[in-house]
Amino acid sequence: MASGAKPRVKVPKTAAAGDTITIKTLISHKMESGQRKDKEGNAIPRSIINRFTCDFNGENVIDVAMEPAISTNPFFEFEALVPEAGEFKFTWYDDDGSVYEESKTIAMA
């Protein structure tokens, strides 16, 4: 696991059925592009999060392929339609094989 990777998610606690809500996610990660060199001139190997997904009750909401030009601590903000109470699952996939997960439940108002 890359050191210091820590996911954060902000989802409203409640919503009415059919509401569109705004979800914000951020994961602290250095997102080493593979383009930089260290003091000795050796390339620093690429180490990024290459995929981010969000699912709601098993149904996919968003699936993002990420590339090396994305900055440190990638932040995503997107909207989702909430048909019923349930659970959002968020997953980040690291180059080194690590998977970081977070989930948030949402109730009907």
Binding site: G4, R8, K10, K24, L26, S28, S71, T72, N73, F75
Partner: protein, 284 residues
């Protein structure tokens, strides 16, 4: 023809200068996390009455997106560093086996601390910045190594301590035992340095609100420090900023943590008495 040419170029010069006139601070209110209303504009403290009527937080001189980013802790990248410092706060270090929390408890207990620093320390007879106080704790209470004055660890810790004071008014003392240091800071503020012969006041008192090329000059208030800068994606300390400014006048700078910068920090902080503590804020 020559006359016409001259007139035309004179018009051209005038219109270029016309583009460089002042742009006022934004007319906006900072409400943190939809609950805490911050003071970003207020009457200048009495010691400043000759120079300024109103004081403005640097927040009002930044763009719409940058201002919005600071209004929500989730959007504020500076809070990532605050969280990192929170872990350090609770982790024992040094020969005494103590953490910050061993003596101070939860970080909430630090509320109000940032607002009154730099501050007189009776035991050592010196004016202390928050950084000096953190290092004193590490050295004498924890038996741990001192942090570098503008190091990431230090700046993150100062940001953590600052974050629990957000919304409280800056209120540094300028009289009594600190008066001498304050006067020294004031002198530095008005002293021109470097090949460009600029003092702090030339930009931040005489010309705030103007555009300096693409940058909107603020009053140079430090109520928002440590500052997350979009240009270097980390938290920046007051003294690192001072150093950058003095360097930009093309002068040899004082060192971060030097008596000169401590005095300057006290004076500049006092110019913001009444503004809310904002650190960690976001600037360009």
């Amino acid at each position: 023809m020559t006359l016409l040419k001259n007139t035309l170029s004179a018009v051209a010069v005038l219109s270029i200068m016309g583009a460089a006139v002042s742009a006022e601070p934004a007319d906006d209110t900072l409400i943190l996390n939809e609950e805490t209303e911050m003071v970003t504009k207020t009457a200048a403290p009495s010691h400043l009455s000759d120079a300024l009527d109103e004081i403005y937080s640097g927040w009002l001189f930044r763009g719409t997106e940058t201002r919005a980013m600071q209004a929500d802790d989730f959007d504020n990248p500076g809070m990532i560093f605050v969280e990192q410092a929170e872990e350090v706060w609770n982790t024992p270090e040094g020969s005494e086996g103590k953490s910050c929390a061993s003596c101070h408890g939860a970080t909430d207990s630090m509320a109000g601390v940032r607002a009154v620093y730099p501050k007189w320390n009776e035991a050592t007879g010196e004016v202390r910045t928050l950084e000096m106080q953190v290092n004193d704790c590490r050295e004498n209470q924890m038996g741990a190594e001192k942090y570098g004055y503008t190091s990431g660890d230090m700046t993150n810790m100062v940001a953590l301590i600052s974050s629990v004071s957000r919304g409280l008014p800056i209120n540094v003392a300028i009289d009594g035992p600190v008066a001498e240091t304050w006067e020294k800071g004031k002198e530095l503020y008005y002293t021109r340095t470097g090949q460009l012969e600029l003092s702090c006041a030339n930009c931040h008192e005489d010309s705030y609100g103007m555009m300096i090329r693409a940058d909107h000059l603020s009053q140079g208030q430090i109520n928002g420090f440590p500052v997350y800068r979009l240009k270097n994606t980390k938290l920046n300390s007051v003294h690192a900023r001072f150093k950058g400014c003095v360097r930009d006048t093309r002068a040899e700078t004082y060192n971060p943590g030097s008596p000169e910068f401590v005095a300057l920090e006290l004076y500049v902080a006092s110019r913001g008495n009444g503004l809310s503590v904002e650190g960690p804020s976001i600037r360009n």
